[in-house]
Amino acid sequence: MTGDPYSPMVRQYFVRTSHAGDLPNAVSVALDQQGVHLRLAGTQENGRIQALRFRAWGCPHVIAACECFCDHYEGRPVPELSAFRAGDIMRKLSVPVEKTGRILVLEDAVRSLGRSFCDSSASPSS
C-alpha cells in the first residue's frame, strides 16, 4: 500500500527521452539480459564524451535510467564511465530494489561502452 511506483524523476526521464536514438560513427554496445534489451552509442573527442544515445526495451525504470545516464554523462571525461554504479542511479531515481538486476544490465552496458571508447581511441583508425 503505497503511492506512485514511479518517482517524479522517473516520470520525467521516461516521457522526455531526448537521448533516444543512434549516432553515426559511434562506438556502441548492446546487451540482452533480464528481459531487458539495451543499446548504448557514444562519440568522444579528446577523451571527453561528446554525445550519448540509447535504445531500450524494458520497464519504465530501465528507460528512465538510460535517459538519465545519457543526460548526465554527455560532456564528461570518458574514464568517469568506469565509476558509474547501478546503486547510485537507483537511489537517484528511487528504483525499487527488486529491479536491481535490470539496472545492473545498464551498468554492464556502460562499463562495456567505456572499454569500447578506450579500444577505439587506441586503435589507429580513430
Binding site: 514511479y6 516520470r11 521516461f14 527521452t17 533516444a20 548492446a30 540482452d32 528481459g35 534489451h37 539495451l38 543499446r39 535504445r55 531500450a56 526495451w57 524494458g58 520497464c59 519504465p60 528507460i63
Partner: protein, 387 residues
C-alpha cells in the same frame, strides 16, 4: 468523469451510481439501527434490507430467502466452495474447477487440497472457453462440487453456464458460479439456469463496495457450512450486524441494472467495436479472449515486441489494467493468459480495457489513439534486436 484521468477499469471496480449514494445517505439518517433489534428503529433497517433483497431477487429471478449477504464476492466464493465441499465431504472429496478462475476461487480450492480434497483443474481452449465435453469427462462418481465462473474478469470470456450446469445436475454435482463480473451486466435467470450457488459483489455493477451476496438454491441437498460463526444472523449461515445502508445500495444497484441491462449491453458493444477498430491495425496486436462472443465490457489485447509495464505508463492518463486488478501490484504474467497459451512476454504486454455505463465514444477513441501512439513510441525506443 475526472479531470486527471480517463477511467477504463470498470472490471476492477465501478463508481457508485449517484442514486445509490443518495439512498445510502438516507439510510445513514433513518436506517442506522441494528436490523436485529426488535424496536421501531431496528424494524426500519430491517424493512430496507427486505426491500433490497426483493430487488436483488428480482434481478436474478429467485426467492429473496435464497440470498445470503456477505462482504463481497471473495467471501461469497469462499463460503460457497469451502462451505459446500465440507458439507458434502462425507460423500466424496473430488472437486472440479477451471485454471482461469479468479483467485478468490482458485485459492479456496488450493486450501481445500491441503485439507485433503482432490481438485481437477481444467484448462480452457485458446479462446478461453471450457468445452462442456471436457467438463463432463472430468466429473466422477465422487465429485461433489464444480465451480466455473460466468464472465472472466481478465478476458470477458463467457462460459456456457446452462450446459455446464445441466451436466452437473445429471451427475448430482453441486454447481457454483462466480458471477462477480456477470450480475447486473447480463441477464441471469436462476429459475431457468441449473445453478446451485452463485456469487456476486456490489462494486462491479455501480453498487457499494464491501457488500456482496451468495445465492443458495432452495433445493434438497444444496446446503453449505458457515465459515464465520457468531450471533446467528442469516439463519446461522453468515453472522455479523447487517449493514443496512450497503445492502440497500446493492438492492438499488440491482434494480437499476435490471432496468438498463439491454441498453448497457448495446452501449458497451458499440464502444468495444470503436475501441477495437482503433487498435486492430497495430502490428502484432491480438485479442485475449473472443471478440465475437464474450462480455463486451472487456477488451484485453496483447501486442508483440512491447514491454507491458512501460506500455501501461505510456497509456496514462488512461486507467486500465494489466492482469486482474487483484494481481496488478505484482509483476507476474497473468496466470489466466498463460492458461490461454500466451507466452510470458505476450501475457506481460496485455492491457485490459474495461468499459462501463459512463464511458463515452470519445473516451474510447482517445484510448485507441493513445494505445497506437504508445506502442509506436516504445517500438521506436527499442533496439531492432528486441523481440
Amino acid at each position: 468523469m475526472s479531470d486527471d484521468f480517463i477511467y477504463l477499469d470498470y472490471a476492477a471496480s465501478t463508481p457508485v451510481d449517484p442514486r445509490v449514494t443518495r439512498l445510502m445517505l438516507e439510510c445513514h439518517e433513518s436506517g442506522f439501527a441494528n436490523p436485529s433489534s426488535n424496536h421501531v428503529a431496528g424494524r426500519k433497517s430491517r424493512a430496507m434490507i427486505d426491500n433490497a433483497a426483493a430487488q436483488l431477487a428480482a434481478l436474478l429471478n429467485v426467492d429473496p430467502e435464497t440470498l445470503i449477504w456477505t462482504s463481497g464476492a471473495t467471501e461469497s466464493d469462499n463460503l460457497a466452495i469451502a462451505g459446500a465441499a465440507r458439507h458434502r465431504a462425507h460423500r466424496g472429496k473430488h472437486l472440479v474447477t477451471l485454471m482461469t478462475e479468479h483467485k478468490a476461487v482458485t485459492d479456496v480450492f488450493g486450501m481445500l487440497e491441503k485439507e485433503g480434497f482432490e481438485v481437477t483443474w481444467l484448462t480452457p481452449d485458446e479462446s478461453g472457453h471450457l468445452d462442456p465435453a471436457v467438463f463432463a469427462a472430468a466429473l466422477r462418481a465422487d465429485t461433489q462440487l464444480a465451480s466455473i465462473m460466468y464472465v472472466n474478469n481478465e478476458t470477458g470470456v463467457m462460459q456456457d453456464i446452462a450446459s455446464l450446469g445441466g451436466i452437473c445436475r445429471e451427475h448430482g454435482v453441486l454447481f457454483h458460479v462466480d458471477a462477480a463480473q456477470a450480475v447486473g451486466k447480463i441477464a441471469i435467470d436462476l429459475q431457468a439456469l441449473p445453478v446451485d450457488l452463485l456469487s456476486l459483489t456490489g462494486h462491479k455493477f455501480y453498487g457499494p463496495k464491501g457488500i456482496g451476496a451468495l445465492y443458495v438454491a432452495d433445493r434438497p441437498d444444496c446446503h453449505i457450512e458457515p465459515i464465520l460463526f457468531g450471533g446467528g444472523q442469516q439463519r446461522q449461515i453468515r453472522p455479523g450486524t447487517l449493514p443496512a445502508d450497503l445492502i440497500a445500495g446493492l438492492g438499488l444497484a440491482a434494480d437499476i441494472a435490471a432496468s438498463c441491462l439491454e441498453a448497457d449491453f448495446a452501449h458497451l458493444a458499440a464502444l468495444r467495436r470503436t475501441l477495437w477498430r482503433g487498435i486492430r491495425d497495430v502490428e502484432g496486436v491480438l485479442i485475449n479472449g473472443d471478440i465475437d462472443a464474450g462480455f463486451p465490457g472487456i477488451l484485453n489485447v496483447s501486442v508483440a515486441n512491447v514491454e507491458g509495464e512501460s506500455l501501461l505508463l505510456e497509456l496514462e492518463p488512461l486507467c486500465v489494467a494489466t492482469g486482474s486488478a487483484c494481481n496488478s501490484t505484482n509483476q507476474e504474467p497473468s496466470y489466466v493468459l498463460r492458461a490461454l497459451g500466451r507466452s510470458d512476454l505476450l501475457a506481460q504486454s496485455a492491457i485490459r480495457f474495461s468499459l462501463g455505463r459512463p464511458t463515452s465514444e470519445s473516451e474510447v477513441e482517445f484510448a485507441a489513439r493513445r494505445y497506437r501512439d504508445g506502442v509506436a513510441r516504445l517500438r521506436d525506443l527499442a533496439p531492432e534486436a528486441a523481440a
